[in-house]
Structures are given as C-alpha cells and as structure tokens.
C-alpha cells in the first residue's frame, strides 16, 4: 500500500514540504470512517466529515484561531457522498487547505465533487461489489460452509484498508485529481453499471425462488404447470416477471415496505391455496 502511494507521489515532483507525516495521511484514511457519526437528514455527513478532519486543521491553523473557525464553519455545510471514496476527497482538499488556497475555491470544489463521487461510489461499492461478493459468499455459506462469511469479511477488510492508499492518492494528486475524477467518472460508472446489471440478471435467475406446484387436468392427462408449461417457455420466467412487477410498482412510487408486504401476502396466499 505504501509503495503504491509513493509511486503516485513520484509522478509529481514534490513542490513543497508537507507539514503532515506519511502516518498522519494514512490515519486520515482511517478517520474517514467517522463521516456518518452524526448523520441526520438535515446535513447528512457534515458533522462527521468535519470531525474526521479536525485534527489536521488544528495543525494547519495552530496559530490562527480565526482560520480554524472559518474552516470548521465552512465544512459544516451539507455534504453527502460515497463513504468509501471520502479519503480521496479529504486528501485532495487537505492539500489545498494546507496551501492556503482561497476558501471559496475549496468550498466550490468540494461541492462540485461530492455529487459525482457519490454516483461512482454507489455504482462500484453498493451495486457492483456488494451483489457479487454477497452473492458468491452467500452461495458458499448456504451449504453450511464457513468459508462464505470468511471470504466476505476478507474482501471488506481489504476495502477498509484501501482507504489508506486512497487518502494518499488524494493528498498527493492534489488538484490533478479533479481532472482524473471528472474525466473518468462517467466511463467508470458506465462500465460498473454493465457489470452490476449482468450480475443482477444472474442473481435473479439463481436466487429468487418461485416455482408452482399446481397441477391441472384430471386422470391420465394431469400436467404440472411449472415443469410442463412454464419451464418449456423459459426457466425462471416467474422470478423474472415478479421482479419486474415490483420494479413497476417502485416506478409508481410505491414504498419499498409495501413490496415486502406484497411478497409476504402473495407467498402466504400461494401456500394457503396450495399452488406453491
């Protein structure tokens, strides 16, 4: 991890002496886990975001109480982005704060970046990594194999530690990071969406279990609706159709809680009349 960070540093001749040690920047990555500490709908991550970076500003504005008040107040403004990507943003803004860049510039940049970064982060972490890692480790665990949870934990432990190189990346790239983020954000979330949706398609087929036990006809001409009709049309057609029914309801602005209720009512009804 450290070598990765220093490699990034090598790309750019060190233009100034940093007041922060390597260790302190690593700790910024760890401290970025605090952003959701005082989460509320009003300011979202703002208090935790400020808390995580406070020791660093205290160092920068050691002899400037006015500066500290200013930076704390500025950062108490609304912010909501993807938690795993905060280290980059923190590192980047810390460089600027350290260089005493105009406060309005820093604030403007923060506000310009947190939205797009939320988009990339959600696409990568929640919609791609979570279904893949969760799906694979759950399918191992389902059979009673403890490797499932171990695998899941290992992947997320790795992602936890990856906050450290990300903080170094943001800190060392400085303002160069802005171009990198803006250039690549669309391409990356496009590619992540493709991967994510392919996986979700696979998950629907593998993990939504709906199968009719209903048989129709009488005497010798009894046919199983599932095996001799639906499976002949397309296997898993029921799960696929049901997901899209729920999707349609969501598009109609139905609360997700109702979808859970609909699912339970349907399942219990199907069980009661003996169709499933």
């Amino acid at each position: 991890m450290a070598s990765e960070a220093s490699e990034v540093g090598k790309n750019k001749p060190s233009k100034r002496k940093s007041i922060f040690t390597n260790h302190e920047i690593s700790m910024l990555g760890i401290r970025s886990n605090l952003v959701q500490a005082s989460f509320s709908y009003e300011r979202m991550h703002a208090p935790g975001w400020t808390w995580a970076q406070l020791p660093y500003w205290e160092k920068i504005y050691k002899d400037d109480p006015k500066g500290l008040k200013r930076v704390m107040t500025d950062n108490m403004e609304f912010i909501n982005s993807s938690p795993p990507l905060y280290p980059i943003l923190m590192g980047l803004l810390l460089t600027m704060e350290e260089d005493h860049v105009e406060p309005t510039t820093i604030k403007g940049l923060k506000n310009a970046l947190f939205g797009p970064m939320a988009g990339i982060g959600d696409a990568i972490f929640w919609f791609t990594i979570m279904p893949i890692v969760g799906g694979i480790s759950a399918s191992i665990a389902k059979n009673g194999n403890a490797l499932g949870p171990v695998l899941f934990f290992a992947v997320y432990l790795f992602l936890f530690w990856s906050r450290i190189p990300l903080a170094h990346l943001g800190y060392n790239l400085g303002t160069k990071a802005i171009d990198v983020i803006q250039e690549n954000s669309k391409v990356i979330s496009h590619a992540a969406s493709i991967l994510g949706l392919t996986v979700i398609g696979g998950l629907i087929a593998s993990y939504v279990k709906m199968s009719l036990t209903l048989k129709i006809g009488a005497g010798n001409s009894v046919i199983s609706l599932q095996k001799q009709l639906l499976d002949k049309i397309f296997p898993n057609i029921l799960p696929f159709a049901f997901v899209f029914l729920l999707y349609w309801l969501l598009k109609k602005k139905v609360n997700p809680i109702w979808l859970i209720v609909v699912t339970f009512v349907l399942a219990i009804l199907m069980s009661f009349i003996g169709w499933m």
Partner: protein, 264 residues
C-alpha cells in the same frame, strides 16, 4: 433450546458492535452473513448460523441504503433469524420471514434518529463558529452512544425477553402459514433486486440484465462467478470503447479549434 441470560447479553454485545458498524459502514460486519454466523457461534450452532447467514444475505442482497431508502435493519434480521430458527426448530428460510418485523422496527428507530439528530446541528454550528475543537469532537460521541445502546437494548429484548411469546406464536402457526413464510424467504431477494433496478436500470443496460439472466438460467453453477466474469468482459470492452470514443472526440475538437488555440 432456550436462550440463557449470558447468551442474551452476548447477543446484545454483538448487536452493539455490529450496530455501530451498521451506522458507520466501516467493516461491513453488519451484513447478515457475518451477523448470523456470529449469532450461531454464540448459540453454539455455527453451522446453523452460516446457513442462515447465506440465506439472509441473499434475501438482503439488493436491500441497500444507497437508493435513498433505509432498508429493514440487517443486524436485527441476522440475529433474529438465527435465534428464531434455533429456539423453535424452524428452517432458517421460515425464520427470515419471522425476523422481519424486528428488522423493520429497528429500521424505524434509525429513521427516527436520522430526523431527530438534526437537533444536534445548532450545537455543532455553535462549536464550529467558536472554533471549539474539543467540544465539537465530544458532541460527535453522543449520537454514536445513543445508536450503539439502542442496538444493544433492542436486540436483548427481542432475542432474550421475547423468546417465550415468540415460541408460543411459532408453535400455534398452522402448517400453511409456516410454509408461506418459507416461500416468502425465497422470493424476498426479488424486492432487493427490484430496488437495485430502480436505481440502475436504463434502457441501454437492459441487454446486459437479460444476458446475465439467460446465462445463469442456462448453466448450472453453484454461484454467480461465471456471470460476473462475463459481465466483467463486457464492462472492459465498453470501458475501452468509451475511452476511445472520447479520445476521438477530443481530437476532432482540437482540429475544429484550429492552430491558434494550441497550447492551452
């Protein structure tokens, strides 16, 4: 089996640790696959915990807080699925359905905090304006402590104190109802996937959804890894293609701008 007081307290401790993680999203040990496994360990039935973890994780696969809605709480769902399955000898799939009310109650507690923690904001603003770093840091611990304790207390009440009425309820359930809950546990992942689709699905991505669905329906493999790899192939192809297109656009723009714009 019944849950002893020591086990109840251990479950409360587990709920506090994973609940704090659920709030901060640091280690992701708040996901059902981890919570169920650890609950199984506390109750002395690791295998049950792991199996329930796999099933519950799938049921919650798409239920993420990313779409702007807070899903039923994974910590309480994980704990109660294993507790109900262990104390009532029901299958984990049935237990998932029965654990959902607990998960939803915890979800509403958290939603209440999301709104009411706004009350702290004026205090934060005051300390920020004063430049009072010490008080600002200290105030951040208050919501953390409230959330952590809530998880512990609620999990203890659900797992330990409510086990007798839960047992009576499960025993009085007719067979069709138990089976209905089991079915619901199997269909539940659909809700999560629909929620993911609501956020992610654009017409241009529909072919990929269909591709993944068809591949997984046709090949019999125990997990989605092959599907993920094929998705990765298409993602890579598209990634390089999009990069190429944007490079071309840049070049065209450069030509259009003519020579006098050089060296910007």
């Amino acid at each position: 089996m019944t849950i002893t007081l020591v086990q109840g307290l251990l479950i409360a401790l587990l709920a506090m640790i994973t609940g704090l993680d659920c709030w901060l999203q640091a280690f992701f040990i708040f996901r059902p696959i981890i919570v169920c496994t650890l609950t199984g360990l506390i109750l002395g039935d690791l295998r049950l915990g792991v199996i329930a973890g796999g099933l519950t994780e799938l049921a919650f696969a798409g239920l993420t807080p990313a779409g702007g809605t807070q899903p039923p709480n994974t910590v309480l769902c994980g704990i109660m699925t294993v507790v109900i399955a262990a104390t009532n000898n029901t299958s984990p799939a049935t237990a998932i359905g029965l654990s959902l009310p607990f998960a939803m109650l915890m979800q509403y507690i958290l939603l209440f905090y999301y709104s009411s923690f706004s009350l702290f904001m004026s205090k934060f603003d005051k300390y920020a304006a004063e430049g009072n770093a010490q008080k600002f840091k200290r105030l951040n611990f208050v919501p953390l402590i409230i959330v952590t304790l809530s998880f512990g207390i609620f999990a203890f009440l659900s797992a330990y104190a409510a086990q007798a009425p839960m047992h009576a309820l499960v025993n009085s359930m007719p067979q069709w109802l138990t089976h209905g809950f089991e079915l619901a546990g199997g269909i539940l992942p659909a809700v999560g996937f629909a929620m993911l689709l609501k956020v992610m699905l654009k017409p241009r991505y529909f072919p990929y959804l269909l591709l993944g669905f068809v591949i997984a329906s046709m090949i019999s493999f125990s997990n989605v890894l092959p599907v993920a790899l094929i998705g990765g192939v298409f993602a890579a192809i598209e990634y390089f293609r999009t990069r190429e297109v944007s490079d071309l656009k840049e070049q065209i723009k450069d030509i259009d701008n003519g020579d006098d714009q050089d060296g910007i």
